[in-house]
């Protein structure tokens, strides 16, 4: 038997395959398709302090090997999460990680403090990279100064594993990664979506209500892979990789480039059972290559 266990900071994961925020709901929505306890973890829907309606419809455009979304963090707010959702999902036998969003540093901190109290949430993913909101979101993640400020404040409020999710819409992602590492982030996850746009040539109108949206799916995989490799070489904390992962080979490419764990996002829309296929595929690869522990794969790129 191969060993699929990995560690992010002090947290042990049974395997390196998680589902990405905003693409798996709270887990429950995909529970029909497979046994959720097979997963390394679930990063639940982006959560904010207060209820958010999100952006107007249309929020989606299909693009070559990918899609744009402009959901804009629709969610019922942290109170609803704590009272209604947390009790239902807290006993799932997999790590539940909450994706944390805010418009101001105070928002981030207030939300984090609430989550810090939840026994069965061992980690948060601090989203400083959402391209679909007018205030906050990506704005925090595209400069070292603001990224440092928000991570510093949240770090004080949060005692468990703090993962910071980075934006790819920057000139130098390694710098941002180093900045958040410097403020005590336990891990970085990347990439969030790339800012894109779709136009309907017949109507001469934008396809999305917000004009621009976030690009995800296989189209962005080469960019994500490059950024994971750059960040892996720049920081000491573990990296979670994502962006267009559709199968075990993709997942392995990210791990070879330096990801300690990977997240499956848009692929779930195509086939929600893909995470299980990836876990099996990684095992099969390890057996074929006689690799005992998945940790041997992480950052094993020969170049």
């Amino acid at each position: 038997m191969v060993n699929l266990g990995i560690k992010i900071h002090e947290l042990d994961f049974k395997n390196p395959v998680l589902t990405a925020s905003g693409t798996c709901g709270f887990g429950e929505e995909i529970a029909d398709f497979f046994d959720l306890s097979l997963l390394g973890g679930i990063v639940v829907k982006g959560t904010t302090l207060k209820h958010r309606e999100g952006n107007a419809y249309p929020r989606m455009a299909e693009t070559p090997s990918g899609m744009l979304n402009a959901v804009g963090l629709q969610n019922k707010g942290v109170d609803n999460f704590i009272s209604n959702i947390y009790p239902r999902i807290k006993d799932l036998e997999t790590h539940i990680i909450v994706n944390v969003n805010g418009s101001t540093i105070e928002d981030y901190v207030a939300l984090t403090e609430r989550l810090n109290e939840l026994e069965k949430i061992p980690a948060i993913e601090l989203n400083i990279s959402c391209p679909n909101v007018k205030e906050g979101g990506m704005a925090f993640g595209i400069s070292c100064v603001s990224a440092e400020a928000v991570v510093k404040a949240v770090r004080k409020a949060y005692s468990k594993t703090l993962i910071v999710k980075l934006s790819p819409n920057v000139t130098n992602i390694s710098e941002i990664a180093k900045a958040v590492e410097g403020q005590g982030a336990d891990s970085v996850s990347l990439i969030n979506t790339l800012l894109g746009m779709a136009v309907n040539a017949e109507s001469r109108k934008p396809v999305l209500s917000t004009v621009t949206g976030g690009l995800s799916g296989p189209a962005i995989k080469p960019i994500a892979l490059r950024m994971v490799w750059q960040v892996y070489n720049a920081v000491k904390i573990p990296v979670m990789g994502m962006g267009g992962i559709m199968n075990a080979t993709d997942a392995l490419e990210f791990m070879i480039a330096g990801a300690s764990a990977i997240q499956v996002g848009t692929a779930l829309f195509i086939d929600p059972t893909i995470p299980v296929k990836i876990i099996d595929g990684i095992s099969e690869y390890m057996e074929r290559h006689k690799i005992q522990s998945v940790n041997e794969i992480i950052g094993s790129l020969q170049c």
Partner: protein, 257 residues
């Protein structure tokens, strides 16, 4: 039944007219409890331009044969490609998805209005509810007789009326121009509709005005179809609701129409 990702076998693909095809899918898993308004989300292979699945309403289910049929109208690249599939091919779909129409009972007088491929759930509903045919009126709109699909299989479930934009079949004009709609609307206590947005809004508004129960099935663009992406939302009186899980069927009173 539980949602599954299933490899169906395409056993029939019949061109009904220029743009409409009837696809019959054989299920390898037991099919149970599929109701009108529910849909399946179909993977369409073979084109680099098609990344996402495409949702299609269930037109009919044969629980004995374990088949599901779809009415596919060519609109763009996905529907086009799907209609080119050959019997014997595997078609992967996620099903069953969405909430169904509220089924009427035998005290009800119902009016079903379908436009374009929106006919599919209306036909399925006419067949499923098993009412006295005299209490079931079905109004179907199409552009022209050549876009109209043969409904003889469903004829016995209700009284059928037609409109075409060019007058080549039934009343000339839109469904909203038909006397059943313009004059007899309040003879019905339950209205069901599926079709183009403008048509559904016209029906919905009249139902709201005349305070008649009315459900419509929306076709917002979807990425996932099972409630995780939040892309398919409709703005309702209680906020953004997912068409794929809270719908596709909505009571018009809940919508901001």
């Amino acid at each position: 039944m539980k949602k599954t990702v299933t490899d169906f076998l395409l056993i029939e693909n019949k061109q009904l007219n220029k743009d409409n095809f009837l696809l019959v899918l054989q299920s390898p898993v037991t099919v149970s409890d599929i109701f009108p308004g529910q849909f399946i989300n179909v993977e369409i292979k073979g084109s680099p331009e098609i990344f996402l699945r495409r949702p299609f309403s269930v037109l009919d289910v044969d629980y004995k044969k374990q088949t599901i049929s779809l009415l596919v109208k060519i609109l763009g690249r996905g529907s086009k490609k799907l209609t080119e599939a050959q019997p014997g091919e595997t078609i992967n779909a996620i099903f069953p998805l969405g909430k169904s129409f509220t089924l009427p009972d035998n005290k009800d007088h119902i009016l079903l209005i379908g436009g374009g491929s929106g006919v599919a759930p209306m036909l399925f509903l006419s067949k499923t509810c098993q009412l006295n045919p005299a209490n079931v009126t079905v109004l179907i709109g199409a552009r022209s007789v050549s876009d109209h699909i043969d409904i003889s299989e469903y004829q016995s479930y209700g009284m059928f009326y037609f409109t075409t934009e060019d007058g080549s079949l039934g009343e000339k004009g839109y469904v909203t121009d038909h006397p059943v709609f313009s004059e007899q609307f309040n003879l019905y206590n339950k209205i069901y509709a599926c079709g183009p947005d403008l048509m559904m809004k016209a029906i919905g508004r009249k139902a709201i005005d005349e305070e008649i129960f009315c459900e419509v099935s929306l076709e917002n663009m979807m990425a996932c179809g099972f409630g995780v992406c939040l892309c398919c939302v409709e703005d309702t009186k209680t906020g953004h609701k997912c068409v794929c899980t809270d719908g596709p069927v909505f009571n018009v009173n809940d919508l901001k129409w």
